[in-house]
Subunit: 392 residues, 2 copies
DNA sequence: ATCTTTGTTAGTAATGTTAACTAACTGTGT
DNA sequence: ACACAGTTAGTTAACATTACTAACAAAGAT
């Protein structure tokens, strides 16, 4: 058991302070040493020393003078977002979507590839490696400046141990795949469920910005949720938190598929399609079931009825989540983003009737980029900046 | 904004290390300086210094020699549970239940009083003060050694701001009552909901010991839950987490009382009584509705049916909680402790059918003492041991 | 008598603090 | 226009605190 050694001379505090300084810089964009000192309660000499080190490390830059407030002009500091880069990868269906980003999370290059089906675990790793090479070439980032890669995929993952227990789209099964990929790429790798990655993306750059209790509700092939409580991602005791597809919502006695939950069986997209079989038969590839259903509902009573039923049961799910977690914001994603204004209004009204503390109800704002942004940030989170030079 | 000053010479690390040392002592009961050093990765001289200070402070004691393992005998250290004391108070219905405890949470004296009804806020504070005086006298603890008092009550509390917005049993309404009581008693006071206090009690001394993700489900006059995730109490963005009485479980269109949720309306004890009106009329004060219902169910079909219905809907509630939070353990409390073995087995079977990760299902193990124990620990939590001597 | 284990002492390295300094600029009175 | 006081930014130097390593003393096992 390796406990991080608080070496007597305690690097621990230094690290904390360094992170705090960096945080101030990131927060303010541009700030002087003196202002950092005021904000952090650290003495000016101390801030100076820490800043100087971080300039040496390439994390900070002096970018000119600020305006005087009646004395010497301050030297403004800026976070050097270019110091390092991060890669992200998302498997969605049969496509692999990758990007390389700076430390602000801005994409520097992007790459997409259709994978051969059915997926073969080993080939997929090679695809990942090839994609990374290409991104590095395209962006001109040298490999040494890459901090790591975040990988999101549909299926069942155990982020803690780095294993993937079920994932048809990648062909990875059991065994700690994370280490295998790390070995192949020579990089730290973080593997997580795609919904979790999207949740993280929306939390740091999308609809969730500024909130500390966020639930990201996703309805697509399945129904799931990502949960951030008091600013921390909550995963549950066996990484099964947010499996809201198993809530007891809908016709309880009708659950043909043993692997799916009751809610998911009836109110995920396949479940809805099944219910709409009579009148919603011919769907083009890539079109939205909900959009189609809304269109039909304008003319056909049975479609209108089904749509209302779907909204109502989704709202039941939200009410349960809200009762238990009292989040500040509930982010609607997946096919839910196609619900029209009227639908959202209806759902909101129901919730106001049912529960005392209705959170903000907002649609996901990052679209398909959410997952990639989250994947990139999963690495940033794991590398709280100053840990960089701990390689000693 | 007062940020805890990491004085250059950093007391912060020292405090952390001191707490770690103390934790080792508490964990092992008796332990030597050398063993603490091995466990904590702190050097032996450092441990010695910290221990000596804590002996000065009265927090630790040397209690004799241990067995030699081939060398000098170790001097065993013990946590001095008597160093300070904590008071706890619980308002339940019209009775006030108080106790004074040592730092292990062991009760040293207890006191109960029936309050005049209807409760008058100011008189109740005097009752609290009188009770505390009596407990101090009885236990022989000098007032200076009292760290604080935890107060639990039925109603709506905002622990953050120390206000009570609705509480018939104490007559406290709005306004930050916590400060008022602190001024009257001359002690730090923590005010919280009774279910939260019971949750904390079971977490630290009852069924929840050893788990980090715990949900405490309470069915009584209302239905509520206390939630501990990753070892932290989770309260929600407006302290409304765990209001599971508002889940959409049961007959959705039948909610006569606007203030209660759907689940609570039908499946709390008053709700069940309402449903059982036909055959469960004459209940003595203090007897258990569930016990009576179980007795009736052995002979009468309608009682049997209702009981099964109650169990089933409680199980729905559990399934929803489990789907969202994936806790390690679900503690059943309130009237749920009267469910017999068969009932628990039935519920467990349902859950195994419905959700993938069924947690331990355990009845609350502390009985009516849970709330008081929790109240006492709420103070201990707020006083992480070594903060004691920070009064400088 | 030698080896082990526990606990302490002495000297050192790391970190951050305060006090005092230099640098650089604003504003005011003449 | 210009000197000078006042203000703000950043640095230097001396000091305090903390925990470390190395060496030693104490006490017991073999």
């Amino acid at each position: 058991m390796q406990v991080p050694k608080k070496t007597g001379n305690s690097k621990l505090v230094k690290k904390l302070n360094k992170e705090e300084v960096l945080q101030q810089v990131v927060l303010h964009g541009q700030i002087s040493r003196a202002d950092i000192s005021k904000q952090t309660q650290l003495s000016r000499p101390c801030v100076s020393a820490l800043v100087d080190e971080m300039i040496q490390e390439g994390l900070l830059q002096e970018v000119g003078m600020g305006d005087s407030k009646g004395g010497r002009k301050p030297i403004l500091l800026e976070y050097n977002y270019q110091a390092y880069a991060i890669a992200g990868a998302i498997f969605e269906g049969s496509t692999l979507d990758m990007a390389i980003a700076n430390m602000k999370g801005e994409f520097l290059a992007r790459y997409r590839k259709r994978l051969a089906q059915p997926a073969n675990g080993e080939t997929v790793i090679e695809d990942l490696a090839a994609g990374l090479d290409r991104l590095l070439r395209e962006s001109g980032i040298p490999r040494e400046r890459l901090l790591g890669m975040g990988v999101g995929l549909q299926g069942v993952t155990q982020r803690g141990s780095g294993t993937v227990s079920f994932s048809p789209s990648t062909g990875w099964m059991g065994s700690p795949i994370q280490q295998t990929i790390e070995a192949r790429l020579g990089l730290p790798v973080i593997i997580d469920n795609d919904v979790n990655m999207m949740t993280l993306g929306e939390y740091v750059r999308g609809a969730g910005v500024g909130h500390t209790n966020v639930v990201y509700m996703y309805v697509g092939t399945g129904i799931g949720a990502g949960i951030i409580l008091d600013g921390q991602f909550y995963r549950g005791s066996r990484e099964a938190a947010g499996e809201i597809g198993f809530m007891m919502i809908g016709p309880v006695h009708n659950r043909p598929n043993g692997a799916s939950g009751v809610f998911e069986t009836h109110y995920s997209i396949p479940g809805i399609q099944e219910q709409a079989k009579g009148f919603l038969s011919d769907l083009q590839e890539g079109s939205s079931v909900i959009e189609e259903l809304i269109r039909h509902a304008k003319q056909h009573a049975e479609a209108k009825e089904l749509l209302a039923d779907v909204y109502r049961h989704w709202a039941y799910g939200m009410a349960n989540i809200i009762s238990i977690l009292n989040p500040e914001i509930l982010i609607l994603s997946g096919e839910m983003v196609h619900v029209d204004g009227e639908g959202v209004k209806q759902i909101h009204e129901w919730l106001r009737e049912w529960v005392p503390e209705v959170p903000n109800l907002e649609k996901a704002s990052l679209g398909e980029r959410a997952g990639l942004i989250g994947a990139v940030h999963s690495v940033l989170e794991a590398f709280p900046f100053t840990r960089l030079l701990d390689k000693e």
